[in-house]
Symmetry: D2
Subunit: 359 residues, 4 copies
Amino acid sequence: MSSMGDKVKIEIFGESHSAAIGATICGLPAGEKIDIDELCAFMERRAPGRDATSTARKEPDRPEFLCGIVDGVLTGAPLTAIIHNSDQHSRDYSDLRVRPRPSHADYAASVRYGGANDIRGGGPFSGRLTAPLCIGGGIALQLLAKRGIYIGAHLASVAGVKDTAFDAVEIDKDTLLSAGKKPFPVLDGAAGEKMREAILSAKADGDSVGGVIECAVIGMPAGHGGPLFEGVEGKISSAMFAIPAVKGIEFGSGFACTEMLGSEHNDPFVYEGEKVVTTTNNSGGIQGGITNGMPIIFRVAMKPTPSILKEQNTVNLETKENTTLLIHGRHDPCVAARAVPAVEAAAALCILDLLEGNN
Amino acid sequence: MSSMGDKVKIEIFGESHSAAIGATICGLPAGEKIDIDELCAFMERRAPGRDATSTARKEPDRPEFLCGIVDGVLTGAPLTAIIHNSDQHSRDYSDLRVRPRPSHADYAASVRYGGANDIRGGGPFSGRLTAPLCIGGGIALQLLAKRGIYIGAHLASVAGVKDTAFDAVEIDKDTLLSAGKKPFPVLDGAAGEKMREAILSAKADGDSVGGVIECAVIGMPAGHGGPLFEGVEGKISSAMFAIPAVKGIEFGSGFACTEMLGSEHNDPFVYEGEKVVTTTNNSGGIQGGITNGMPIIFRVAMKPTPSILKEQNTVNLETKENTTLLIHGRHDPCVAARAVPAVEAAAALCILDLLEGNN
Amino acid sequence: MSSMGDKVKIEIFGESHSAAIGATICGLPAGEKIDIDELCAFMERRAPGRDATSTARKEPDRPEFLCGIVDGVLTGAPLTAIIHNSDQHSRDYSDLRVRPRPSHADYAASVRYGGANDIRGGGPFSGRLTAPLCIGGGIALQLLAKRGIYIGAHLASVAGVKDTAFDAVEIDKDTLLSAGKKPFPVLDGAAGEKMREAILSAKADGDSVGGVIECAVIGMPAGHGGPLFEGVEGKISSAMFAIPAVKGIEFGSGFACTEMLGSEHNDPFVYEGEKVVTTTNNSGGIQGGITNGMPIIFRVAMKPTPSILKEQNTVNLETKENTTLLIHGRHDPCVAARAVPAVEAAAALCILDLLEGNN
Amino acid sequence: MSSMGDKVKIEIFGESHSAAIGATICGLPAGEKIDIDELCAFMERRAPGRDATSTARKEPDRPEFLCGIVDGVLTGAPLTAIIHNSDQHSRDYSDLRVRPRPSHADYAASVRYGGANDIRGGGPFSGRLTAPLCIGGGIALQLLAKRGIYIGAHLASVAGVKDTAFDAVEIDKDTLLSAGKKPFPVLDGAAGEKMREAILSAKADGDSVGGVIECAVIGMPAGHGGPLFEGVEGKISSAMFAIPAVKGIEFGSGFACTEMLGSEHNDPFVYEGEKVVTTTNNSGGIQGGITNGMPIIFRVAMKPTPSILKEQNTVNLETKENTTLLIHGRHDPCVAARAVPAVEAAAALCILDLLEGNN
């Protein structure tokens, strides 16, 4: 379970302060050309320092390809790309083993790994590990675009401030991809300004906020997925929970469906020319675990960054006493913003895997 | 992906009207005694006809063990158990291929399988397939109980009517298991009555309602799971989406976390005797994808049953014209009620897999 | 690892004396018609009592289909078929736990399963478990034949008596399939008679003999498989070792290649019309783990049946003393003969998996 | 299938002339100390230029650790180590696409990858890819040694010249590991000299020779593995076929068992103090797919290096004509010698996976 995918499989490795982080992607189709500049531009979207609301830490996230690609063309062998960890502060992290940060992985990981885990900068639990996810996902996005399948996401809400939602039934490609082209990934700029204010206000207070990311896939043909453990929702959901800070996911109408009547919720079929479509899309493009040709739509909930600059209660695992902790350092007051491309990347890998595996 | 689990693996087979449905579970620990009566009692909880709100269809869901168990003791070889499909109505289902039911799998599956899928009674998409899930899960629940790990669920809401929620920090075993002992699985009987009214009212109108199921795991030790694709949330979520009609899942504070500040959301650590606990449990027992020793808590959203007794718009796939459809037959007006043990079962299999796999 | 295959996956369950044995096969292509009579005829080939050299035990090996097939057409859902265990002798097997039979699984399994394993008739280690393998393999053989791919095997040697070998470069379909049509599966009837004599002679002496099975796949296109862990040899070999009593496998020239010069061993390429072929086939149709379009050829070594009717030295695990053992009952003096269809079945499942998975 | 293992999993990446080759190993036990010098010494054993019989090509095979290890201690996160490809000759390899080398992967791979595969130096099919296998295997060997499990291999034969075989019943650790300490890995130095002569003689003639490698595992407890697809032989065999040039594998008595009587072949049990052992070990330490506590013994057949300096017949894939080919460059006239540590490495990964997975 350290990798994801059946036919197109990604394995992510690295720790926040190890020599490098990276990913190996197997099962990519040989002979396809990858636009490396476009990939790097995609990677840039999750890089910090892109907006005043994100951490000031600079990470040159340009991937270095070790194998699997020659002159930009996929060879069919596993593709491995790495990013060297250069901007590390070599300070002492050992205190985190003694006084675990609330709602971080520190305590759980110390039990899991008997204290041997690399705790510097969060180790393998760092949001930085979404960079290799974006390498694989960025490649997948390009391969999908060649087949007329596009994936886009935006910040649906931050600290309760809501962006315009995607139209579930009809999403044009430009709208879908528009948020990704902005420094702050929203559809509605005015809503985005309010979100930024909320983030900066929390930041000024040493605090943090959460958010919801909405993602859609358009152009996906009907007939992929299956019942039970083959379902598309299960596949996408487990991919999303690989992104740090995700605490929930819902497809289509999601939790709201639990307050609807069947007669309201059912999506009536209708012909649009030769194509079977539905006039509503509460199903989020998936019925019985199988794509039905409508946009796949889902939303993920991201918790407020646990790294806050306020004194917090914790324990001292050495003295076995209760104590307090004050975290220092640079942190994103809202990880949701930078996670938008990670959500697209994880979705793209799932969709490509379904297509390449003929599932 | 037709099976779930790494060390303890379940494979489910069968179609609603095939000769039998069943499951093969591999990796169960040899030598453990299973209480078959207790297992059957668990299975009874998902059987129809238990409450006036569920379908009248009678299914004798007593599993027949083909192998893997001798005198109630697990042999260590794969355990296969089946349930014969006896109460089938041999009516003609071919119309469903021509006029797919809205928000059912009919259309998506016909594309997926080129029309060869067994469409009778929903085929492999039928909620009936949660019966074999409950065989595996019921066994897992017994094995977990021997280790002091208990799993219980209840209807957290139906049609917007809310049950009392579990106390996220401290759940005693009796409360946890209480809903499962009632014909209608709620903690608060009064809330249950209101839910039943909402269901029966929808039923009288030929309509259906959705609901939320809350599930908790207590006694789970800290230190299971891992970052990225090894996370416990991802594992549980993909298991839950294998249950028909699930459209969302959230852990701990879930979607509500997106409107909280980090300072509110973080779970402070404190010593409770020798044990490290948290004073709140917004994390739902999982941090960095790893269990932290607190109760694992999650909620799943279940859509209203798509089978409603009202005329609906759909298409005729033969004539390629728009048409209408009126479904007949016996259906659960709220699938959430009977899905409660299925949620427990899926969770139990995930937890046992983590423990047996030492993950 | 209790199942085999990536896209087309088989899971085998059952124990020699459990209620039933069977298999679930996932990933079979929906809509394909299976000839059940042909499948049963294939199953007959491994059934006992077909030749005087095999055990007299009668097993009605007609599979009962539980799901996944309607009117002989694959539905795309998992196909499960079982065979009830009817001809069991309900004698006491508990002595085998105390005094393990030499070169049987008795001792190793008792350690593995802490003594909880079903020991009756060999439990899951019985050669009887090749029957469900043949269900899956028999279906795979039919699906491959529709694509012009044929698989056949024969007894290449028994007790040192050699059958004619397949011509590695050019195998016509009739020759390939001829052995399978005979009660005793050899190409050369005279050699077969000598083998049968050797078997009956060993049997008369309460002893047993081993043998080599040669198997070939013709019509397989070039370009399936891959380097390292994706290799076709590795895939086929692990499938073969799932057959009880197999102790070795070799592809193409096999062990003989270790005494050849490169200049002798290399297979020169040449055009045969438009098609690239090789003038020798020491590679056995696989180069760099990938099929090259030539016949895939391999041989498996099967040990002499460990069940012999002679007194043998063993231990008493209760008293912890050395002792002796005299096994009674009906046994095949040469399991290789009945294993021929099992070898074809396992190969067919591997090949179909490669094709369906586009690997 | 691009990776191997269930609990301890290795994924190998890289191509002969890509920027780097490497491996990611997941599931290694956190907190264990690795001796990097010892690992490098193990890697040295497969490096070229160690004996006059191997290629003169110099490869500094010192692994660079990217993650998963801090101060020599395993962190529990995936461990990735790479080796930069420095000693590449940047000559033109494009002719290999047009005129494939006999018994190389050139032709099969060009079909598999539509001609997009990296053909330089053999791409992913190069024996060089056994270097990352040895990184993972070298770590596994150290972890196994801490548990009293040792693995050693030697050249059992080269060009028909035979080394002393391991004593199947009783192998002391010193003998087991002795061949690995010599530049030319044999037990019997005199036999080794004859082998070297045969190799140098073939080399002088521009030709190559094959060989057999025998490997043993001592100290392995009884009770690991299982029937059918869980068998230890199947697991080890598929690992061995990942090593380029392997064409066969046999366990215990192997192919010789096919000419033995059951009464000769069966391994009688006897008590050796408190321990159950067998007085012969034709089973090669595995019965019913499960370890029985005796040494695991197997032999792999390696074909003569296909790269020979003689004119060979091949095809021109562009002109579609028959033609000839004369390969230049530096090649091992006998790959078996350098493959000895690769065999140990692959075996070690299998054994560690069984133990860590509690299989």
